[in-house]
């Protein structure tokens, strides 16, 4: 029995499948190196050994067998990180129930998604493959590295990245409640279902703790509590093992979740979208909660009508760790441009603006010890730009993940698909511009909503 429990505990935490990951040895010569955290250096080299940054200095001699990339007149910066996306997933919304923490987007990974390559072509090396926002507590999510070219979904996973989970407040979860005639249909209901879930998880945790303790007593005979992957996952949130990423827009609901988390001792909290985060910036800062925002999206639904493109700047000035995200296979291709908008809307400095798409999202995903800046010892996830990355005239030229070149504009073959659909007709395109749904968070679930309410 004891053996079994140990076995169970081991298997409960999602198995970190050790996949074969390729690492490169590269010398990037003579670029303007933007480290983000340690300043910007001109005519400087970056040496990458076995997928890690091993030296940043001028005039590094080329070690034997190293690939050399000439970055003269180019800008070298850490790979861009997107704290909110849904690319590389075959499905994102287990919309059937208000509380589904047991599901995991890591099961839906799709290494063949062309969006991964297109993100690389925008300098993005890491993204957070989030569950959707159809339900109050959605699924666990996966932090991925854009190792496009691999056939193995396990290779996409960023090894040892902390666990994260999606929560959602406001119109999306209440809309789904309304569709089913179930809770939640209001923001009060959203608060309740989250509190209820946490409370049940607490009981569950206590029951198991009690059982595991009693079991050690010699001669103990008794039944174990009923196992539930749902409550197990919620308990892991309460234990601080999972970072909560919460879809939210309005100030009131943001404040509400801050209170819940305070009551249940949940400390690792990142708000997503958080369009009205600027209104509760002091509260966010005081709680140590972080914010991952759009640069300028607004007015596509009521709860984002009272937004401002100055959101990021206000949050930054109030001391909130802030990032700019995409939530979109389109926007992820030019996050460097989205970050630049904070210079227009709030006058952030170059380093501040670039932090929003590098070290800050890394902090929000708990991977800032590995990525998000160019520092010796960190992963060699690197984007090379022609012109300054915040200029409209910049062009991402080359993107490396773990020191391996995964995008090279000069060598781009038009057709970069890995697998080809044998049934595909070479005739019918998909016109994304006609797809006006901004809120990618509702993918899958949306079809139903549209049918029910005739919206969109």
């Amino acid at each position: 029995m004891k053996k079994l429990i140990i076995l169970l505990i081991v298997s409960i935490s999602f198995s970190q499948v050790q996949a074969q990951v390729e690492h490169g040895n590269v010398l990037i010569k003579n670029g303007t190196v933007i480290t983000i955290t340690k300043g910007t250096f001109e005519n400087t080299d970056v040496l990458v050994k076995d997928g890690k940054v091993s030296q940043i200095a001028k005039n590094i001699a080329t070690p034997a067998g190293y690939k050399v990339i000439d970055a003269t007149n180019k800008f070298v910066m850490p790979g861009i990180i997107d704290a909110h996306s849904h690319i590389a997933l075959t499905g994102i919304n287990e919309y059937s129930n208000a509380i589904t923490p047991e599901v995991w987007t890591g099961d839906e990974l799709n290494p063949f998604d062309i969006s991964i390559y297109r993100a690389l072509a925008g300098g993005v090396t890491v993204s957070h493959a989030l569950h959707g926002s159809a339900n109050s507590i959605g699924g666990e999510s996966e932090t991925i590295k854009h190792r496009y070219g691999t056939l193995d979904m396990n290779v996409l996973r960023m090894e040892n990245a902390p666990r994260t989970i999606k929560f959602a407040l406001g119109e999306n979860p209440t809309g789904h409640g309304r569709r089913d005639g179930l809770q939640p249909q209001t923001r009060m209901g959203v608060e309740f279902v989250i509190r209820e879930a946490f409370s049940e998880a607490k009981q569950y945790m206590e029951a198991w703790d009690k059982y595991n303790k009693e079991k050690l007593i010699k001669g103990f005979r008794g039944a174990p509590p009923t196992y539930s992957l749902r409550l197990e996952t919620l308990a892991d949130i309460l234990k601080g093992n999972i970072i909560v990423h919460c879809h939210s827009y309005r100030a009131d609901e943001i404040n509400m979740l801050l209170k819940i988390c305070k009551d249940f001792g949940v400390k690792r909290l990142v708000f997503q979208h958080v369009n009205e985060g600027f209104k509760v910036a002091p509260e966010l800062a005081a709680a140590g909660a972080m914010a991952s925002v759009f640069s300028d999206w607004w007015a596509y639904k009521l709860e984002v009508y009272y937004s401002t493109a100055y959101n990021a700047a206000i949050l930054v000035r109030n001391g909130v760790v802030t990032s700019i995200n995409s939530d979109s296979g389109e926007l992820i291709r030019h996050l460097y441009h989205e970050a630049a908008k904070t210079q227009k809307y709030g006058g952030l400095s170059d380093d501040e603006a670039l932090s929003l798409i590098t070290i800050n999202p890394a902090k929000q995903l708990g991977i800032d010890n590995r990525v998000g800046s160019l520092e010796v010892g960190k992963d060699a996830d690197i984007a090379i730009f022609q012109n300054h990355p915040l200029s409209i005239y910049t062009i991402p030229m080359m993107t490396l993940v773990d020191g391996v070149v995964r995008f090279d504009r000069e060598k781009d073959a038009d057709d970069m698909r890995i697998y080809v659909d044998p049934k595909e007709v070479v005739d019918i395109p998909t016109l994304h511009a006609q797809d006006r749904s901004h809120d990618n968070c509702l993918r899958d679930a949306e079809k139903l909503t549209v049918k029910m309410f005739g919206i969109n």
């Binding site: 079994l4 499905g91 059937s96 129930n97 039944a223 969109n456």
Partner: protein
């Protein structure tokens, strides 16, 4: 934008259009044969891959192979079949399909449940306790179709969602469901198939539920063990059919058969297996060519899909191609240079063709890598099987390996090598007899023995379209349309006035008779078009059939829904 969403409703309308009471299969009275002993003489017998004997004889008695070889004595009570110039193989074994399996009655209920997050287990597709036996139907037409291409046994599973139930190996013929069974509960069948509009509604939902149930079952099984050893003072464990169904899997007494068609499905299943540790058999692999090292590492058994993507339509035979190319060379001199769009299309079409070749070459790739595999017919149309096998062989699969995958390997995987898979004394008399070597393009299956029972295959040439034929179509026809949901029957009345025909279609779900918008007869080909209105949905229906005396065969197509086989029979004049 909104209009687009009406499509799902049209799909419902399709079901409405054809969802008429299912036809009962007309059971002909067949007299039993005069003897259960047969002798097949002077045939080429392939006993097993690599074991061929010429001009040999097989004697079948009481459903078993009594003897096989040259110059063996023929019992006096034997019915002798002169098999000169015929080729005899052990009957083929299908690794997994639903041949002869009926759907559960409530299977069609896909309405949104009141609380989609908590559907009944049946609605969620969680019925691992089901046994395929109650669903077997010895009269199902699919059995006949599979026999027609040489299959005599199949491992079959119930219909359902993520956990449809237990599979059994059956013979493709028999007087009752029980008589068909060779071996029972061979598999714990699983799919990554979500429930429709209910939990689990996604693949990740299915995987989460799988983990949840598996771990729950592990704990309850242990507690039941503890309870059984000393019940006093312990809470009585409640019985749970669903969890109990997992016990043989947890004990590794029963393998999990997991449908793994797409490359990502395959990877996901391997992830589950690694976490939970069950014994795995991969089913109906279609895109497994890149995953061989992983498959090997998992120790999984493998059944490759017999379904292949269609060849490109304009792909011509080698001879024609050569002629075409010669012609092209001539024209080329005058031709304009290709536009960028044309060049792009060529490159893309080539990529697609290369990719189709990977599907076709999968079996050869597995053979080369030394992975043993059987075949499964889960998604293939039975009539495509021989051609698909030939395509695999043309792509490098050896004929012996193909035969082994159809016979000895599946027999071994199911632990039935003592009964099935080869032509040896004492084995069940399952044979397939063709007029040419089976993998020859022109080969036709003439006889099939299942459990010692002879099934003759009628070799009928399909009536070909003939523009000069003269046929009489006036009168009343009963028309049977076969759609995925079943069969339906309508009535078609054709009248002739002068040189033009008119037609009226009635019956089934049509609220009132509908006049055809056009009736065209060209030789023996009849084309009829009409518009059906059902519940406010209008649908254009086109029927094209070839007339053969008082019957016809052909296709009916419904706008946007594809086409379905249709047959007609003229009713005698009253």
């Amino acid at each position: 934008m909104k209009k687009f969403y009406s499509y799902p409703f049209q799909r419902w309308a399709l079901v409405m259009l054809f969802c008429w009471p299912l036809l009962l299969l007309a059971q002909d009275d067949v007299l039993a044969p005069v003897s259960r002993t047969y002798a097949l003489t002077n045939a080429t017998i392939v006993q097993a891959p690599g074991r061929k004997i010429e001009a040999a004889t097989i004697v079948i008695k009481n459903g078993l192979i009594q003897s096989v070889g040259k110059g063996i004595s023929i019992p006096p009570e034997a019915i002798i079949i002169k098999a000169d110039s015929l080729f005899i193989y052990a009957g083929f074994i299908d690794g997994l399909s639903r041949t002869g399996v009926n759907k559960a009655k409530d299977d069609a209920n896909k309405d949104r449940p009141k609380d989609p997050g908590n559907p009944t287990p049946e609605r969620a597709g969680i019925t691992p306790q089901y046994d395929v036996r109650p669903f077997l139907n010895p009269a199902d037409k699919s059995m006949e179709e599979m026999r027609g291409v040489g299959f005599t046994a199949a491992h079959v599973v119930p219909y359902g969602g993520m956990l449809p139930g237990n599979g059994s190996v059956i013979l493709l013929g028999g007087s009752s469901a029980d008589a068909m069974i060779v071996s029972n509960k061979n598999s714990f069948y699983s799919e990554l198939t979500p429930a429709e509009r209910a939990y689990p509604a996604t693949v990740m939902g299915v995987m989460a539920k799988y983990r949840d149930l598996y771990r729950q079952a592990t704990l309850t099984k242990n507690y039941q063990g503890l309870y059984a050893s000393n019940r006093s003072g312990l809470e009585r464990p409640t019985s749970d059919r669903i969890l109990e169904a997992f016990y043989p899997v947890i004990d590794k007494r029963q393998p999990v058969f997991f449908k793994a068609e797409k490359v990502l499905e395959l990877q996901r299943i391997l992830i589950l297996q690694k976490e939970l540790g069950f014994t795995l058999t991969l089913i109906n692999l279609k895109e497994g060519w890149d995953m061989i090292p992983k498959v090997k590492a998992s120790n999984a058994q493998v059944f490759l899909s017999l379904e292949l993507p269609e060849e490109k339509k304009d792909e011509k035979k080698a001879d024609d191609k050569k002629k075409d190319e010669a012609k092209k060379e001539e024209i080329k001199k005058e031709e304009k240079p290709k536009t960028a769009n044309e060049l792009e299309k060529e490159v893309l079409e080539k990529r697609r063709a290369d990719f189709i070749a990977k599907y076709v070459g999968q079996a050869a790739t597995y053979q080369k890598a030394g992975v043993k595999f059987g075949f499964s017919a889960l998604t293939v149309k039975s009539k495509d099987i021989p051609a698909n096998l030939r395509r695999m062989i043309a792509a490098g699969l050896s004929e012996d390996a193909a035969l082994a995958s159809l016979t000895t390997i599946p027999a071994e995987i199911f632990g039935l090598s003592d009964r099935l898979g080869s032509i040896d004394n004492g084995k069940i008399a399952n044979l397939v007899i063709s007029d040419k070597p089976y993998f020859n393009e022109k080969a036709k299956v003439r006889y099939v023995f299942v459990d010692g029972v002879l099934y003759k295959q009628e070799v009928t040439e399909e009536k070909k379209a003939d523009p000069n034929a003269k046929v009489e179509i006036e009168g009343t026809w009963s028309v049977t349309t076969e759609i995925p949901q079943g069969k339906s029957e309508t009535s078609l009345v054709i009248k002739k006035e002068g040189t033009t025909y008119s037609a009226k279609i009635s019956g089934g779900q049509l609220p009132q008779p509908v006049d055809a918008s056009s009736v065209v007869l060209e030789g023996n080909v009849l084309k009829i078009a009409y518009t059906a209105t059902i519940n406010g949905q209008t649908m254009d229906v086109k029927m094209e059939v070839t007339i053969d005396g008082n019957t016809f065969k052909g296709k009916t197509s419904v706008a946007a829904f594809g086409s379905f086989p249709v047959e007609g029979k003229k009713e005698p004049k009253l």
